[in-house]
């Protein structure tokens, strides 16, 4: 856990005026959570981050990591526990990509093979082919590629927590989405405590367990993405999250929050039309999902499809183009509905078992519920 208590930083300019880069900041980042620091340029995100690893000395206030005051920890020791991705990337130009990533492990005296394996693993995670990039020098990489190396380097020695200053700022949107996904996948496994500076509200909503919105050194709101989007604390936050905040909230809402639970609403492909008709009448369903060979939803049939017909349901169903699962976000689900000109999607659990369906009405209601919450 990282806790900031009344953390304040005042810079003195040469002309003698004071710049309050951080103004009595109080927040707690739970272990294993990603906290996004966001706000307009110059609002103090970098300053706040650098106070945590003591690259900047606070003017006043305290920082605790797992309950321990950071000023009580040896600086080198502290920084080794906190992987750091600097905003300006800062790779060593005289070292190869491999050497850059393996530098901290080398300083920690890992053996060669372990360093090598770790480097390969991290480069792959950052979507950089080790065969192509490992022996190159930083200047032979694009800005976005260098940035990814910077993230790999911060992760190398498996630090407990990470401080990341706009780590994907220079990465193109396509690769950024890939890396964000890879990063989240890693995070679900490793559960690191992460302070992550971003200036992109979409990235914040996607990556953050919590979002901290800053303005002129003041922490304006610190909450979950859903609550920041649904209940902005003030006009600044409201304007910052944008006019399409409801659309953004779709991204933090999962199908499990909005779907209709109907686990019996299916027939298997070899069952008879009669069976389907019986099920619909009995449960007053207007349609049922048809499960394929492997138990996945493969199509659906409605009452009118089978009126007066017989044989197997397999011969009468409509195809299904997209299957959502409980963890699919509603933004994706809605987009898939629009794409496929349909108003609903079947929903399965992680094992692929049919659970029910999601439709636009369900999403609208779920959005309303979370707004009032």
């Amino acid at each position: 856990m990282i806790k900031l208590q009344d953390l304040t930083k005042v810079f003195q300019t040469p002309e003698g005026t004071d710049i309050v880069a951080a103004d009595k900041i109080n927040m707690e980042v739970e272990t294993g959570e990603i906290c996004i620091l966001i706000g307009p340029s110059g609002c103090g995100k970098t300053t706040t981050l650098k106070m945590v690893n003591r690259l900047i000395q606070p003017t006043s206030g305290k920082i605790y990591i797992n309950g321990k005051d950071v000023t009580q920890i040896d600086t080198i020791e502290l920084r080794r526990q906190l992987g750091y991705v600097i905003q300006q990337i800062g790779l060593f130009p005289n070292l190869t990509i491999k050497e850059n990533v393996g530098l901290v492990p080398k300083l920690l005296k890992w053996d060669k093979k372990r360093i090598n394996d770790r480097t390969v693993e991290l480069l792959e995670m950052m979507a950089l082919d080790p065969a192509v990039f490992a022996d190159r020098y930083p200047r032979q990489l694009s800005g976005g590629q260098q940035q990814r190396v910077g993230v790999a380097r911060a992760l190398a020695a498996d630090p407990e927590a990470l401080l990341m200053d706009e780590p994907f700022g220079a990465v193109d949107p396509i690769n950024r989405a890939v890396i964000q996904d890879e990063f989240l996948k890693m995070q679900r496994k490793l559960k690191k405590t992460i302070l992550f500076v971003s200036h992109d509200i979409d990235e914040a909503v996607k990556m953050g367990d919590k979002i901290a919105i800053f303005k002129d050194g003041v922490l304006e709101q610190y909450d979950t993405p859903a609550r920041i989007l649904g209940n902005p604390a003030n006009d600044f936050v409201d304007a910052f999250v944008g006019a399409d905040s409801a659309i953004k909230r779709l991204g933090v809402l999962n199908c499990e929050d909005a779907y209709f639970h109907e686990p019996e609403g299916f027939v298997t492909r070899n069952e008879t039309v009669g069976k389907a008709r019986e099920l619909m009448a009995q449960k007053s369903y207007s349609r049922v999902v048809v499960l394929g060979k492997n138990g996945n939803p493969k199509g659906y049939i409605t009452k009118s499809d089978i009126e007066g017909k017989d044989g197997k349901v397999n011969d009468h169903h409509h195809p299904i183009h997209y299957i959502a699962d409980l963890k699919t976000d509603c933004r994706t689900a809605l987009s898939k509905m629009l794409d496929n000109e349909t108003t609903w999607l079947p929903v399965v659990d992680e094992s692929g078992t049919y659970q029910g369906y999601i439709n636009q009405m369900g999403i609208t209601h779920a959005l309303g519920r979370t707004k009032r919450a």
């Binding site: 920084r79 600097i86 990337i89 060593f92 130009p93 005289n94 530098l103 911060a154």
Partner: protein, 219 residues
């Protein structure tokens, strides 16, 4: 023709004097590197100190070499080293400080602050930061300082002949005192060739010691 003949028939002596020349310069420059580089690095921590140290070193460089030899004679005489190679080496050592330490200072100062911050943020110690990043990156500029020091020293060492330090200056000194054009020109040619060769050698060294990651791309 006469000169070529003279040089050919005295090749042994010329080579011996060249070797003496190289010897006193090397004995001076190697310890000079080991003091000037650390000093150059140390003063990057404090701009005030840097100014003072660089000014002092610049002042030393402006003292005429004969004056330094003159000062060193009474200082070293009690130890029996008033004249000869020792005062020459000591003088050359001091003359080497400025170019090397100034270049070291400038090079380390010019290392991208983002690198320094990244290194600090990664929990590297000052030593680790110097070894893995700052010194390798500063190497080409430091070596440029060494090159300057060597070329300056080759000419100053010539003057050291007057205090009995030997070297190619002997030909020039004798050429002047005996109004012997052959010796004078032989000395000048020897010094010039030595200066050109050392500079080329150091340029080569500078090239191979420049980290691959920051070398100019071949076109």
């Amino acid at each position: 023709m006469e000169i070529i003949h003279y040089m050919a028939s005295n090749m042994d002596l010329i080579l011996q004097k060249t070797w003496e020349h190289i010897f006193i310069i090397s004995i001076a420059i190697i310890p000079a590197i080991f003091t000037a580089v650390p000093i150059g690095i140390a003063i990057t921590a404090n701009d005030d100190h840097a100014k003072k140290v660089i000014t002092t070193a610049s002042v030393i460089l402006t003292i005429p070499s004969l004056a330094i030899f003159g000062i060193l004679i009474p200082v070293l005489s009690p130890f029996g080293y008033g004249i000869g190679e020792v005062p020459a080496i000591i003088a050359l050592y001091f003359y080497s400080q400025l170019p090397i330490l100034r270049n070291t200072y400038t090079a380390i100062k010019n290392v991208d602050p983002a690198l320094r911050e990244a290194a600090n943020g990664m929990g590297m110690t000052l030593m680790q930061r110097l070894i893995y990043a700052e010194i390798p990156l500063a190497t080409p500029v430091i070596l440029a300082g060494v090159r300057t020091a060597v070329v300056v020293n080759i000419s100053i060492a010539t003057i050291a002949s007057y205090i009995g330090a030997g070297g190619l200056g002997d030909f020039i000194a004798r050429g002047i005192s005996q109004t012997d054009k052959r010796q004078l020109v032989a000395g000048i040619i020897g010094v010039s060739i030595l200066a050109i060769c050392s500079d080329m050698f150091l340029a080569y060294l500078q090239k191979i010691l420049t980290p691959k990651g920051i070398r100019e791309e071949k076109r």
